[in-house]
Amino acid sequence: MSTRSLAASVLVLTLMGCAGVMQSGQTGTSKPQALGTPVGAAEIARWDISIPPSGAGLPAGGGTARQGQQVYEQKCMACHGAKGAGKPADALAGGAGTLASKTPVRTVGSYWPYATTLFDYVRRAMPITNPLSLTNDEVYAVTAYVLALNGIVGEDAVMNAQSLPQVKMPNRDGFVSDWPPRER
């Protein structure tokens, strides 16, 4: 290849390169990358396990404290103690009336503002060695048991998608918003 034809080839390639860039819009473009894949409602339902205070998303099923006691004693008591007394993991019951004292005891009964959070957390994370192993009925039942330990519901009250969001936790009004941030 002569020097002249080489130069011509380079020129052609350069122009092609420029044209290519302009056509494909790959360089200097503001067109955003978009690589997410659409997902259908059925698939989303298999992923969506978060339960807000409204109870939206609570599954079918239900259970009572009486039913939950057996689940608790088999699968929870080793870490959370008899009747939610705690050790080595968090205490789940007691502490009522201690929050304004010098030795506050924060439990589900004394501190947690929403009962839905209890269902949400038990289902997503408990038991710690085998999460996602409880049926929805078992999660409702053990939720009912912990609420009953704190005297919040009766032993035969059925906790389900309708009743759980209606449970008024004793410390429901115990929180002050710190968002947006205060000066400090």
């Binding site: 955003p32 990358q33 978009a34 690589l35 997410g36 894949t37 659409p38 997902v39 698939e43 989303i44 992923w47 969506d48 396990i49 978060s50 339960i51 807000p52 205070p53 870490c79 080595p88 993991a89 929050l99 304004a100 004292s101 010098k102 030795t103 506050p104 924060r106 589900v108 501190y111 947690w112 503002p113 929403y114 839905t116 959070t117 949400d120 957390y121 997503r124 994370a125 710690i128 999460p131 115990g174 929180f175 002050v176 918003s177 710190d178 968002w179 941030p181 000066e183 400090r184």
Partner: protein, 414 residues
């Protein structure tokens, strides 16, 4: 590793055979032929290359402090604190980065991992890790601090532990990833969505609610830390990074983001990480970490060998932005001197401060006090304590180290 050693030995044996006498001289005792200053390692061929580097074996004592409240029952529940007293500069080495996890470190196959964005969006989307890696990236340096950091400075008597074991539940890294708003825009975020729910793929499925303002501001979907892909204990293959906000919200092993109209009130944002006041009410959603500093050298458990010139060195940071000033006191807060700052141009990142100090051999109390660009000043310990009741979170009060006449440095409450 053994294979590498073997191949190195073979190479050396072959070299010796090739060059004969010269190679023999190189492994003979030091100074045999030359009366020159030389250490033993200057007479022998050095180690071969390794694929992934390790610190010197002489630095083996430098490591994280493990806090495992449930012991062997749940060895990945708790925290590992960065050994701040052994570190300098601004960046925490990835291997020494603090860890706070609820149910251990999951062993995630990046090919199987997915990130779902759904809820109040026009187009719910699923992302593979491979696809996330193709997005334009942003790189920024930010600290991460557990909201429970420095709760070991709230015991009735001051703990006599190294500074890292008390205040090292925090670290600072260079993070690279995708601005979260890019993915939210792709999904068509509903203008009426006010919060997000972020969830991890660990066995606790750790979840937190995040105001949309932060998500659209500087939140990152982080894929790289200090130039390499995230470490497993830092959320591999993908984590949320909310610069300056409490560590717990920076959800690791991110698998799901749901746009919502209000906070979900998860376990970690109600029963934990809320600040109980003396009146029995608790502050909820203290997201921004307060302006704070700590002297790392000299610090608790160290000893100054003799009176003379020392450098006071430490770290300062603020969840609200840049550090404007760090002052150091050597007399328990009576007098303050501005220290030199390194890295103060970066918001929500560690700043290294340094100040020369002539120790006269008399008892001294060292303190540091940071001020950020919003004018917020690190509070005195008693002022911070007065706001709360047995609250283990968000302690950003001034830290005091006493230097005795014998040079011993102890942790004191002053």
């Amino acid at each position: 590793m053994d294979e590498t050693k073997d191949s190195r030995r073979r190479f050396l044996a072959q070299s010796a055979a090739l060059v004969g006498g010269a190679a023999s001289a190189a492994v003979s005792p030091p100074g045999a032929a030359q009366e020159l200053a030389a250490q033993p390692w200057e007479h022998v061929y050095g180690a071969g290359f390794t694929r992934y580097g390790q610190p010197s074996k002489y630095e083996a004592p430098v490591g994280r402090y493990l806090v495992q409240p449930y012991g062997e029952l749940a060895p990945g529940s708790g925290a590992a604190f960065a050994p701040l007293e052994s570190l300098e500069g601004i960046i925490t080495p990835s291997s020494l980065h603090n860890i706070r996890s609820h149910s251990g470190t999951p062993d995630i196959d990046p090919k199987q991992h997915r990130l779902l964005i759904h809820g109040m969006v026009a187009r719910p989307l699923m992302f593979t890790v491979e696809s996330l890696l193709q997005y334009p990236m942003t790189t920024r340096t930010h600290f991460l601090e557990c909201s429970g950091n420095s709760n070991r400075a709230l015991t009735p008597q001051p703990a006599q532990l190294p500074v890292g074991a008390i205040h090292g539940n925090m670290s600072c890294s260079e993070w690279t990833g995708i601005p979260l708003r890019v993915l939210l825009e792709e999904a068509g975020l509903d203008a009426s969505a006010k919060w997000l729910l972020a969830e991890g793929a660990d066995s606790a499925h750790m979840s937190r609610s995040i105001p949309i303002e932060k998500a659209l501001d500087d939140a990152l979907i982080a894929l790289y830390q200090n130039g390499e892909r995230l470490r497993p204990e830092q959320g591999y293959p993908v984590r949320l990074l909310l610069p300056g906000w409490e560590g717990n919200m920076n959800v690791k092993w991110l698998r799901r983001i749901k746009a919502t109209d209000g906070p979900t009130h998860t376990k970690d944002e109600t029963s934990k990480y809320t600040d109980l006041r003396p009146d029995g009410k608790a502050l909820q959603f203290t997201f921004e970490m307060g302006v704070k500093s700590v002297i790392t050298k000299p610090s608790s458990t160290m000893t100054l060998p003799r009176p003379g010139r020392y450098e006071v060195s430490g770290l300062a940071w603020s969840g609200a932005g840049r550090i404007r000033q760090v002052e150091v006191s050597t007399d328990g807060g009576a007098n303050w001197t501005a220290a030199t700052l390194i890295g103060e141009e970066r918001p929500r990142a560690f700043v290294r401060f340094r100040l020369p100090w002539e120790w006269n051999g008399k008892p001294a109390v060292l303190q540091s006090r940071a001020t950020d660009e919003k004018g917020r000043v690190q509070p005195a310990r008693k002022d911070w304590l007065a706001q709360y009741s047995a609250n283990p979170y968000h302690n950003h009060s001034i830290v005091s180290w006493a230097v005795g006449a014998d040079g011993k440095v102890t942790h004191v409450y002053a």
